[in-house]
């Protein structure tokens, strides 16, 4: 079966005066997947999302969302989307309910109000409250609710769990997973890697306005980086181990024990340590966070060296 591409970006460029925010973003998001978009502040995550909505116009490159050019027909794109901005602001003079009804009216009243009430109950959000009296977390709940309430085909979520307590974070992630089960595609940016690891099918890493890696979340975690704890019978000169390609020593104690980070295949290391008497060996898969940081470190070194 052919996979439908819901978001397609090729060579996307965006500059703000002299600042080049996007330097050729290439991206493909498939229908029905949860795609995590990772990157530190200023990497271009929000700029990419706002280009998808035609809130800002790219200076170059090609862009299709749900098969439509957002600049040519932004209304058609937005009518099938739900959006949670990274910087969320509402008209403070309204109640939660009035603001949600207003946004719903702008969407032609598509939301089923009983569904809105169910979502509000799950998020423990009081619709009668005045927005000016809401905490940051409650405003974020409201943002999540307005993005989900009309059951969009595509959800663009910029830092969806920002400002929420851990219990509500879990509830929001459950709602996102449920939306996917109902057929929605979810594109969300985050720098909370544990949540990306928890729900994303695929991950894209953006750095300095360029997507440097796109991979299945599981394969990214499994593929390249491992942490190896070794204990030897007799002291081993650490230089013997650092000479192995892809191996970095993270910790060593009198030559009797060492913790190594291994990038790539394990074969060379196993052959190397076969020459020593190994008492114990433990291999640990790193978290997405560690992979992410390793990626950035590697890129930083590459950029500095060039």
């Amino acid at each position: 079966m052919e996979t439908t591409i819901v978001i397609y970006a090729q060579g996307l460029l965006k500059s703000y005066g002299r600042i080049q925010a996007l330097r050729g973003v290439d991206l493909e998001v498939r229908q029905g997947e949860i795609f995590g978009f990772l990157g530190p502040n200023g990497a271009g995550k929000t700029t990419t999302i706002r280009c998808l909505l035609d809130l800002i116009r790219p200076n170059g490159g090609a862009l299709r969302v749900l098969g439509i050019d957002p600049q040519a027909n932004p209304v058609a794109v937005r009518s099938r989307m739900g959006y949670l901005p990274g910087e969320l602001h509402f008209d403070e003079g309204m109640t939660v309910e009035r603001a949600l009804r207003y946004l719903n009216k702008l969407r032609g009243g598509r939301a089923d109000w009983s569904y809105v009430l169910r979502l509000a109950e799950r998020l423990d959000l009081n619709l009668k409250m005045a927005i000016r009296n809401l905490s940051k977390g409650n405003k974020q709940k409201m943002g999540v609710l307005q993005a989900l309430m009309h059951r969009p085909e595509l959800l663009l979520l910029d830092e969806p769990t920002f400002g929420l307590d851990p219990l509500v974070q879990q509830e929001v992630l459950r709602m996102v997973a449920e939306a996917r089960e109902q057929g929605a595609t979810i594109f969300f940016s985050s720098h909370i890697l544990s949540e990306v690891q928890e729900i994303a099918d695929r991950v894209g890493i953006i750095r300095l306005g360029k997507v440097v890696e796109v991979a299945e979340t599981a394969s990214l975690i499994n593929r390249s980086l491992r942490r190896v704890h070794l204990r030897f019978r007799a002291p081993v000169d650490p230089r013997e181990l650092t000479g192995v390609p892809g191996v970095t020593i993270l910790f060593q104690d009198d030559g009797l024990s060492a913790t190594l980070q291994v990038e790539g295949e394990m074969d060379a290391l196993i052959k190397k340590i076969a020459a020593f008497q190994v008492v114990d060996m433990e291999i640990e898969r790193p978290s997405l966070e560690e992979i992410f940081l390793a990626y950035y470190e590697r890129e930083r070194v590459r950029v500095n060296s060039t």
Binding site: A21, T47, L53, P85, L88, H89, D91, L106
Partner: protein
């Protein structure tokens, strides 16, 4: 568009009631005072002659003080463009950029709504708000005028309000255009306010300084009739002011359709340069990097 219009109009109800009621009470009081003033015409004329001409220039022709149109112009319509003009400049400059700077425009423009529909909804709400403020004010005049010796009908009184409405649209739309071109609402309001005050001073001082007569031809105040409109509207002037107002609104729409919706930290708060200037700058950057 209608959802945006009704919502924006609802947000302005405080302005309509606040401005409208205060000005209606003031208008009713001034109309009621006309008979008292007419009874003391001789004393008042002596008093007016003692004022310096520089001061009198700002309020119109004091020779007309004892006619309804002259009285209403001097007492009300001469300075209303300045007072309500400040409202129009503030409202116009914040019509779109106000929401942008408060961060609420991002979510609104992510709804299935074209920029044109949003723009027209907001523009219509601003025009309607201003119209309703003037309507409430006019009602204050119209209720009191039949009980005085002032020889005008409530319908006659509508003419200077129409002249004022068109003038306010001109400065409101100018401020809106400035907000699309300048880095912030504050800059746009400041520039619009300065133009308003400058126009008022130039047109007023041109009455006593012949050197300013030529310059005053370019001042919108010159084409604002005020109280004189009671004896007949100058449709040429109304059309001219309306034409420029619509031109400013059209240019603001053109710019809004093409610009980025800004949020803090995106680096999009610089002065908007025309495209040909931007290209030239990039080209010169490229050349310098090649060198």
């Amino acid at each position: 568009m209608f959802t945006i219009f009704w919502y924006s109009l609802g947000r302005s109800r405080g302005q309509i009631l606040g401005w409208g009621l205060i000005l209606a009470v003031l208008g009713g009081y001034l109309v009621g005072f006309y008979d008292t003033l007419a009874e003391q015409q001789e004393v008042m004329e002596q008093l007016l002659h003692s004022y310096p001409p520089e001061l009198m220039a700002f309020f119109g022709d004091f020779g007309q003080m004892f006619t309804p149109q002259g009285y209403l112009h001097i007492e009300f319509f001469s300075y209303m463009p300045l007072i309500l003009g400040i409202y129009a400049v503030l409202a116009g400059s914040g019509l779109l950029v106000g929401d942008e700077e408060s961060g609420t425009l991002d979510l609104l423009m992510a709804q299935p709504l074209s920029r044109t529909a949003f723009y027209l909804g907001r523009l219509a709400a601003f025009a309607t708000t201003t119209f309703l403020i003037l309507l409430v004010t006019w009602a204050g005049f119209a209720v009191v005028v039949p009980g005085t010796t002032m020889d005008v009908t409530p319908l006659d009184l509508a003419a200077p309000f129409l002249s004022l409405f068109i003038f306010l649209m001109l400065f409101g739309f100018l401020a809106l255009l400035l907000s699309m071109l300048l880095p912030s609402r504050r800059f746009a309001a400041m520039a619009g306010g300065m133009l308003l005050v400058a126009s008022f001073f130039i047109s007023s001082l041109a009455r006593i300084d012949d050197n300013l007569v030529k310059v005053a031809e370019y001042s919108p105040f010159n084409y604002y009739q005020g109280g004189e409109a009671i004896i007949g509207l100058d449709w040429g002037w109304i059309g001219g002011l309306l034409g420029f107002a619509l031109l400013f609104a059209l240019l603001a729409w053109w710019r809004f359709e093409r610009r980025d919706i800004r949020v803090g930290g995106e680096g999009g708060w610089g002065v908007s340069l025309p495209a040909f200037l931007k290209r030239r700058r990039f080209r010169s950057e490229r050349l310098s990097s090649q060198l």
